[in-house]
Symmetry: C2
Subunit: 202 residues, 2 copies
DNA sequence: GCTAAGATAGTAATCAATTACTATCTAACC
DNA sequence: GGTTAGATAGTAATTGATTACTATCTTAGC
């Protein structure tokens, strides 16, 4: 099963590094992950990491690039082919939650990165990720209004903010309970309230 | 205006320390605040801090105690004397947002503390704060149901989670925009959706 | 003048990053 | 096709900077 040859091509090694950081962030404070811890997790010496990344900042950038790519692909796939905008939003929501359950460290890394004072490459990547996320939401909300599923009085920006905040709230609850899987059960319950908040009255 | 005598009684010095941490957290990543930075901000040498706190952990604990006391007092005062449970929730929401605007570092410290792996005293303080916050919400939601203002089908737990998540979403937006004051404008817009999600149909 | 509070000047530990060296893979060449 | 030279990837030890924390000396204030 476990097959980890000592030598790996550079691109594969970088991929393993990213996965290691994501895994570590699932069980410890992302800001406290050291290069030594990353190396240990992937059975490598600490110095070897810097053969593949110029510095630690570059590692975090690579991680956030991986996150952005995977998350957007996931929500796009979830919404694909669903005619009803509201149902598409719900599918997006649930697939996002599933992604977070698979990778609990991700939202914590994102939030941690956002509150950096300096605009690091990783922070910028998070910003563009959320921007693109918002574009998809705005599109669906507009479609929902024209289709009549959403109330015409809905405040688009506020609805997008609350959509993401809803997930953030679930993450916080899971941190409080120390139980990530609970999100799976709580997510539909919370989304039901959100749905009621934006849907047109039957 | 500025009156800072070199020598201060211990309790006053501790209070100044807490305020300094809260202020610093407003403009930089809370997890990167060093004891040296705290001391510099209050015109003190780094070593002198340890005359008043046994270690850094104790400083953070004191900060979170301050936060818990102030925030709960604030929302209690806001809800006080408001007959309508929904209006009380809105007042609570807005006073919480105001508190965050005054102290932007607070929600970031709280979230950062929650995702610590080890159960530090500060983390436990955050947990009990949110627990008490939740009690107040549950109480209002129940009252809202009996008064008929809230839909009888509302999921209490989900509603409480979403209430806090709504604020978390606003905080994230303010981090993205780099503009805390925007929350003042966005808050009522976002709460309107939440309100619609839990209120009984007209 | 005694005590609480602060300054000064450390210590030990930790961290990212670098260095000199070694192992392994790959491809050119006879 | 086997040998070898160069490129790639990894090790182990070390560096300088930073950190929380402490020991010792100094001073302000009742």
């Amino acid at each position: 099963m476990e097959n980890n040859p000592r030598h790996l091509p550079a691109d594969e090694r970088r991929a393993v590094t990213v996965k290691s950081v994501v895994a570590l962030a699932g069980s410890q404070n992302p800001s406290e992950i050291t290069t030594a811890a990353i190396a240990k997790h992937m059975n490598l010496t600490q110095g070897a990491l810097f053969r593949h990344f110029p510095n630690k900042e570059a590692i975090w950038q690579a991680v956030m690039e991986w996150v952005a790519e995977r998350l957007l692909a996931r929500i796009d796939r979830a919404a694909q082919g669903i005619a009803s905008p509201l149902s598409a939003m719900e599918a997006m929501f649930m697939s996002h939650v599933e992604f977070v359950i698979e990778h609990p460290g991700v939202p914590r890394m994102m939030f941690g990165e956002l509150q950096r004072a300096e605009p690091t490459p990783a922070k910028r990547m998070v910003q563009t990720l959320i921007q693109r996320y918002g574009e998809r939401l705005h599109c669906l909300i507009e479609k929902g209004k024209t289709s009549g599923e959403l109330s015409p009085t809905v405040d688009n920006e506020a609805a997008a903010t609350l959509f993401i905040g809803t997930i953030q709230g679930l993450v916080m609850q899971s941190l409080l309970a120390g139980d990530v899987a609970r999100m799976q059960i709580d997510a539909p319950r919370v989304f039901a309230i959100y749905r009621r908040g934006i849907a047109s009255a039957q």
